[in-house]
């Protein structure tokens, strides 16, 4: 197919995916956070937790709607733009997407109505169950999507028969080498997103001194969870890095700007900063630390790290500087979250539960507000590393991207891309408009849960004339 059409098809996928992923990461984590809040409410019966649940679920509603509608193009564009890919992988990849729809997406959709609109209709145990099902559904959804994507990174458990993938071993295909690391790294990234958003928005209210007694609860709860998750995420990132060097050497070399395979008995050097140049097949410049890449990439002093020079140019990923810097941005943000979480934990300890001592830490609170966009940037960077780094393959080692696209006219793709770009702009700006209003209105501190579980007559609503 013509190269332009291929680039357009890739551009359309990138646009759809980059836009879509913004929403589910918050759905996954905010629903999990709400689950914790609701458990606290049910266990302690403190009305403040109930009000927190009501307050944050309004943000979840807005976010959820955009996530649902932006996910539909994801599911169908494999068929519209990537027909040959769908035909080649359908017996495994399509199967897994089917599982995602039936086991996860429907679970989420089936309970979200009760979670959002059922507050005064169901007893609190039932409501808690609905929240748990939405949380479970969104996390299972992430699991199956990562199963499908990891299989594209490290395909296993299949054979190619008559130009189509046939599954020979389901356990191996589902638990492909990348799956455990990929799925857990992505899930933790999603959790970090929501926790940083909750901590950041709570810090915003604390900075403004609006209902500080109320928001110190959500701030502390988010922090408590982040102190555990931030270091775990760094460990998962490191481990998936080692896995990438083993299973996808071209991607590993590309994200580190590493050209020459180290000789046995020596360590590969790591560049802190560099400018990789694919045309010249070397780095234009670099600041290197001898021996460190072997340690980072293989966890051993002299571990061999294959350089790009030993990989045919046709099999090297494109856009090396993009890969190199998005990887650094992602990793840097991961470390920043750990520093920020520990700094805050230290400050909270020093404050010894005194609210004014925390409110006096204005720099710290401001840092959290400024951190709100960072998890989103880290997730986008991570996906760019993952997807661009896999090129020129769409299924690593099995199917090249250039053989995977449908023969759609450039005009049709350009037209639909322009239409979706306009739609996404409207969705994003409307979301910000309504989220800003939600932020300005703040929590309703007069809300009370219904004293008694609803009776049958309430469920059967009657009309007032």
């Amino acid at each position: 197919m013509p190269l332009d059409a291929l680039h357009l098809a890739r551009g359309q996928f990138a646009m759809t995916a980059i836009f879509h992923i913004l929403w589910p990461i918050l759905t996954i984590s905010l629903s999990a956070f709400l689950l914790v809040v609701e458990i606290l409410w049910v266990r302690t019966s403190e009305v403040a937790w109930y009000r927190h649940a009501r307050f944050w679920s309004k943000l979840l509603v807005l976010n959820f709607a955009v996530g649902v509608v932006s996910g539909i193009p994801m599911e169908f564009q494999f068929g519209t733009n990537w027909g040959p890919f769908s035909l080649f992988t359908g017996q495994f990849f399509g199967n897994i997407l089917g599982f995602e729809g039936a086991m996860a997406f429907m679970l989420e959709a089936g309970f979200v109505g009760i979670m959002m609109l059922g507050w005064d209709r169901v007893p609190k145990g039932v409501h808690l169950f609905a929240t748990a099902m939405v949380t479970l559904g969104s996390s299972i959804s992430a699991f199956w999507i990562m199963v499908a994507n990891s299989w594209m990174q490290t395909p296993s458990g299949v054979a190619v028969v008559d130009g189509k993938v046939v599954v020979t071993n389901y356990a191996k295909a589902i638990f492909s080498p990348d799956m455990v690391w990929g799925a857990s790294h992505m899930w933790c990234a999603a959790l970090e997103t929501g926790l940083v958003v909750v901590a950041g928005l709570s810090a915003y209210y604390l900075l403004k001194r609006r209902n500080p007694e109320f928001f110190v609860r959500s701030f502390k709860l988010a922090l408590l969870l982040l102190v555990f998750i931030a270091p775990v995420q760094i460990w998962l990132g490191d481990s998936s890095g080692v896995d990438v060097f083993k299973t996808q050497p071209a991607k590993g070399a590309a994200i580190e700007g590493h050209w020459d395979t180290n000789a046995p008995g020596t360590g590969a050097s790591w560049s802190l900063l560099a400018w990789p140049d694919k045309a010249k097949q070397r780095n234009d410049w670099s600041i290197e630390i001898p021996g460190l890449l072997s340690v980072l990439g293989t966890h051993s002093l002299h571990g061999q790290v294959t350089g790009l020079a030993d990989i045919p140019v046709a099999d090297q990923p494109p856009m090396l500087p993009l890969l190199y810097y998005t990887f650094r941005a992602m990793a840097g943000i991961g470390f920043l979250f750990m520093v920020l979480a520990f700094w805050t934990a230290f400050a909270l300890r020093k404050a010894r539960g005194r609210l004014d001592a925390l409110l006096a830490q204005r720099k710290l609170l401001l840092a959290w507000v400024l951190a709100i966009p960072l998890p989103y940037i880290a997730v986008e960077c991570g996906w760019i590393v993952r997807e661009v780094g896999r090129q020129p393959w769409v299924v690593y080692g099995l199917l090249r991207t250039e053989h995977a696209a449908s023969a759609i006219s450039s005009t049709a793709i350009t037209g639909s891309m322009a239409m979706f770009a306009a739609f996404y702009a409207v969705l994003l700006s409307s979301f910000f408009y309504f989220a800003r209003r939600w932020l300005k209105n703040g929590p309703d501190l007069t809300l009370r849960p219904l004293a008694a579980p609803p009776r049958q007559s309430i469920a059967h609503a009657t009309v007032e004339h």
């Binding site: 169908f76 897994i96 729809g101 039936a102 429907m106 089936g110 209709r121 209003r437």
Partner: protein, 328 residues
């Protein structure tokens, strides 16, 4: 049982399951798309509030049947998924855009105050366009995606048919869920849309006979005609019951009979297409994944199927009865 017939049995089971997902989607999202289409005819915001409130808790799960359908088709019949979506690129993309309009508008209108009438129109137009695109896709599939003026006319007819059918489901849903003036109006809408739906269905059937590969080959086969005739009688009785119940003041009858009408129509469609999945272009056997995939999917999706239907029904049960105005 020999291996060949086991394979056939599996792929036919999946053809049936895909048909079931399609019916579940068309009936459930059909009524809330229909409510959206009818909202275009209501100028009072209070009416639209009630109409949208009546579907607020279920539209998302209803739309999800389409996602389940898409995933199941991708896994069970990759060739059909790839062919249909690539060849129908433009209507599929417009369909997706319309679903975005509808879904975003329904949630944003709750948060909006001054701009609510605008979001309501976006909701209505998104619902209408969704129905039109689905009608176009249906028409294209029945005619085996052949070009030409007559085929375009047929496709226009299926679009009108789907819009009318969804309006019928939406109107009868509103009969069930609303009271007073709105209910009276819904009864009127139901009467009109049942007539247009039947008219479109007759034209579509004649068109299928004359224009589609289905009409020439499939309908002439022994047994097929009898099954289709029986389904047509069921559909005709359902239509009469809709009219009867709407005028006798039935609350649930019109909606239930409309569902029967839809199920009969889609059963007719499945019987007509069989053993092809895209008439004249792709057979079920050649589009199907191999047996190990079909079995694995059957285990995975078959086990969650009753659970899915169970919690969906629970949701309908919980929000049963007529809707009452809530203050936003």
């Amino acid at each position: 049982m020999n291996p060949v017939s086991a394979e056939t049995l599996l792929s036919h089971t999946w053809f049936g399951l895909i048909g079931l997902f399609l019916v579940l989607y068309v009936v459930t999202d059909g009524f809330d798309l229909g409510v959206g289409i009818l909202s275009l005819f209501r100028s009072k915001e209070a009416d639209r509030n009630l109409m949208i409130q009546s579907i607020g808790h279920v539209w998302d799960a209803n739309e999800t049947w389409l996602v389940v359908l898409g995933g199941a088709l991708f896994g069970a019949f990759p060739a059909a998924y790839a062919m249909l979506l690539s060849d129908l690129y433009v209507p599929v993309m417009v369909l997706i855009a319309s679903l975005i309009m509808r879904g975003a508008a329904i949630e944003f209108r709750h948060a909006a105050t001054g701009t609510r009438p605008i979001w309501d129109r976006v909701f209505g137009i998104g619902s209408l366009l969704t129905a039109v695109c689905q009608g176009v896709i249906l028409g294209k599939v029945i005619t085996g995606m052949l070009p030409g003026g007559l085929h375009a006319g047929f496709v226009a007819m299926t679009a009108i048919g789907v819009v009318s059918g969804y309006a019928l489901l939406g109107a009868t849903w509103l009969v069930k869920k609303t009271t007073g003036q709105l209910e009276t109006a819904a009864r009127r809408y139901a009467t009109i849309s049942v007539v247009t739906t039947v008219a479109a269905a007759i034209v579509i059937s004649i068109g299928t006979l004359m224009l589609s590969p289905v009409g020439a080959e499939r309908w002439a086969q022994a047994g097929v005609f009898h099954v289709l005739a029986a389904l047509a009688i069921v559909a005709a009785l359902a239509c009469c019951y809709v009219l009867y119940s709407v005028h006798m003041g039935g609350e649930n009858g019109p909606f239930n009979a409309s569902i029967v009408l839809f199920v009969a129509s889609f059963a007719g469609l499945a019987v007509s297409l069989f053993p092809d999945i895209v008439p004249g272009q792709l057979s079920i056997a050649s589009a199907a994944s191999n047996s190990s995939t079909l079995i694995f999917m059957l285990i995975g999706i078959g086990t969650v199927m009753p659970i899915m239907i169970g919690y969906n029904l629970y949701q309908y049960y919980l929000f049963r009865g007529k809707v009452v105005p809530v203050h936003h």
